[in-house]
């Protein structure tokens, strides 16, 4: 249990020890400087207190060496702080491969999360301990921010952008998460709990609770048929459109000769604004689905297309760039 007046929150993710170490390191340096300056001031304040009315001080002029010394010393320390902070940050901004992806949508003033199997939660987030978790964040209105103090991570949720954040929970338990970017009236109550579970519990929870909700892959598959994607995107690549098998994560060769990685953002764009990037050897036939799909439906479609990753990729008629054409 924590003491009544703790200094830092619980450490429950891979980042927590790093961030706390940074805190201690920088605090140490600052205390050192603070102590030197305070001592010097207090010492002089009493030692050189004016004894007679007309007294003047003894002139001491600057010594360039001293000045250089106290420019260089803090500079070096500052660079260490910068470098260490940068290492942690770069790690944070670049998610490892093979993460467990959870979609999180913020809106005034609630959080909706969608587990990989489509289970939806509101103001709750369940994650397994020890897994690399990546949250893909979208906003439906203003800017929000997903903040879990115990994990020492936060990321703004910006409308019109897909931001991502990742972490690896290291300790089962229930932890507060907050909205940490001011978003209007109920900003302060736009929070909830992250529950970190043992992987087995998590799996059980996933299958146990998911009563009403369809699995997003299944929902996506249904949508894929309903929205008549299937009419063009045939799995064997003989249709008018590329097969989507094995698409996710691969390199797509575009008509203008460049290649892109088929990540979430790309697939999303391909659906909403089909003609923004045209796959090589295909006509710009695909209709824009802009405005016809909700965020959640898009997530479901993406989930379905992702699930095709393990499907056999047809030799022709796929949008994937052959290895030789890769840059």
């Amino acid at each position: 249990m924590q003491s009544p007046l703790p200094i830092y929150p619980e450490q429950a993710s891979n980042f927590a020890p790093h961030v706390d170490a940074l805190l201690i390191f920088i605090t140490g340096i600052c205390l050192l400087f603070g102590a030197i300056i305070t001592t010097a001031i207090v010492f002089c304040f009493f030692k050189y207190h004016r004894k007679e009315a007309g007294a003047v001080g003894i002139v001491t002029y600057e010594d360039p060496l001293v000045e250089v010394a106290w420019i260089v010393a803090p500079l070096i320390l500052a660079m260490v702080m910068f470098a260490w902070g940068a290492i942690v940050y770069v790690d944070y901004r670049n998610a490892p491969r093979d993460t467990l992806d959870i979609y999180v949508v913020g809106k005034q003033w609630m959080w909706k999360a969608q587990q990989p199997n489509g289970l939806k939660e509101i103001n709750e987030l369940h994650v397994p301990v020890g897994r690399d978790i990546r949250l893909i964040l979208a906003s439906e209105d203003v800017i929000h921010d997903f903040f879990v103090p115990a994990f020492r991570v936060k990321m703004d949720v910006v409308p019109g952008h897909y931001n991502t954040m990742w972490f690896r929970p290291t300790k089962p338990g229930r932890y507060h998460f907050f909205c940490s970017q001011y978003c209007g009236t109920n900003h302060a109550v736009m929070g909830g709990w992250v529950t970190v579970m043992e992987p087995t519990d998590y799996a059980a929870w996933l299958s146990g609770v998911s009563g009403g909700e369809a699995n997003p892959v299944a929902a996506g598959e249904k949508l894929f048929a309903e929205k008549s994607c299937v009419t063009c995107h045939l799995a064997n690549g003989t249709g008018r459109a590329p097969s989507l098998n094995g698409l996710y994560g691969g390199q797509v060769l575009l008509a203008d000769g460049s290649t892109v990685t088929a990540d979430d953002a790309y697939i999303r764009e391909s659906i909403l604004q089909a003609n923004a990037k045209i796959v090589a050897r295909y006509q710009p036939l695909m209709p824009n689905y802009q405005g016809q799909l909700t965020e959640e439906q898009i997530f479901a479609l993406i989930a379905y297309i992702k699930s095709l990753q393990s499907q056999p990729v047809p030799a022709t008629g796929s949008g994937i760039a052959p290895v030789s054409e890769k840059k």
Partner: protein
């Protein structure tokens, strides 16, 4: 090193060496007329720096959005009347020239020419604003004012009797092409027009302020106030006027000349 030696020459000492004889009213806070003139000119330059950054903020917004939505910006730009735009550019450059001549007349003591050139400048400025007004009116008629009624397709689908059918057909084709690659082109063209109106609007506002200043100068110059010894007001208003011209020199290609070749 003795700092004193290097930096001892201060303003007031330095100025005494200069031999220009100035006249005019010396305001109480100054020691010499030289100092007064120098302060005024320097002050205007500093003010122009703030203007650079003021417009700079908009140019940045423009740059980023144009980069993102080039197609939509292209069709937006192509609806502008390039003839009016070019004429206006020339008008404004001319007015800058007459302004420079007004300053020259004041500096060389051609007392009659000063008001003449100022009136020419004012006239050209008004022509510019008039043309701008005509353009705004056109945009209004073509539903190109950002807001609920904005429709980039309006003109091509509602041609007015006088419109050249070939031009309309061309515009229609372009707009359709744009929509094919950017289904949100209407929004994004609206963004273009938001910037168009914000930038040209603020530019026009600067022109109006400048015109007011010139009216004031004309009055003073008709009374023969400006002489080789005293012409600071003409000079600093001139600086301002030229600056406004420079803004337009950038606005013209950036707003009118996007994606014209097609």
């Amino acid at each position: 090193m003795r700092r004193g030696v290097l930096f001892n020459a201060t303003f007031s000492e330095a100025k005494q060496e200069q031999g220009v004889h100035r006249t005019g009213e010396l305001y109480g806070q100054f020691q010499t007329l030289d100092q007064q003139k120098e302060s005024a000119t320097f002050g205007m330059w500093i003010f122009l720096v703030t203007e650079v950054l003021f417009f700079g903020g908009m140019f940045l917004t423009y740059t980023i959005n144009r980069h993102e939505y080039f197609t939509a910006f292209g069709i937006g730009s192509n609806t502008l009347d390039i003839t009016l735009g070019t004429v206006n550019t020339i008008v404004l450059i001319m007015s800058s020239f007459t302004m420079a001549m007004a300053v020259w007349s004041a500096e060389t003591g051609k007392k009659k020419l000063v008001p003449l050139f100022l009136i020419l400048t004012l006239g050209l400025g008004c022509v510019f604003l008039g043309i701008k007004f005509v353009e705004y009116k056109q945009k209004f008629e073509h539903h190109l004012i950002p807001g609920r009624n904005f429709a980039i397709t309006y003109r091509s689908s509602h041609p007015a009797p006088g419109d050249d059918p070939k031009e309309i057909a061309l515009e229609k084709e372009e707009v359709e092409k744009a929509f094919a690659s950017d289904p949100d082109a209407n929004s994004h063209a609206q963004l273009y027009f938001s910037l168009y109106f914000a930038m040209t609007g603020l530019h026009a506002l600067h022109m109006i302020v400048g015109a007011g200043l010139i009216v004031w100068l004309i009055k003073a110059s008709l009374r023969g106030r400006f002489t080789p010894q005293y012409n600071t007001p003409v000079e600093i208003v001139g600086l301002y006027w030229h600056f406004v011209d420079i803004v337009w020199i950038y606005l013209f290609p950036l707003l009118y000349l996007i994606d014209r070749h097609r």
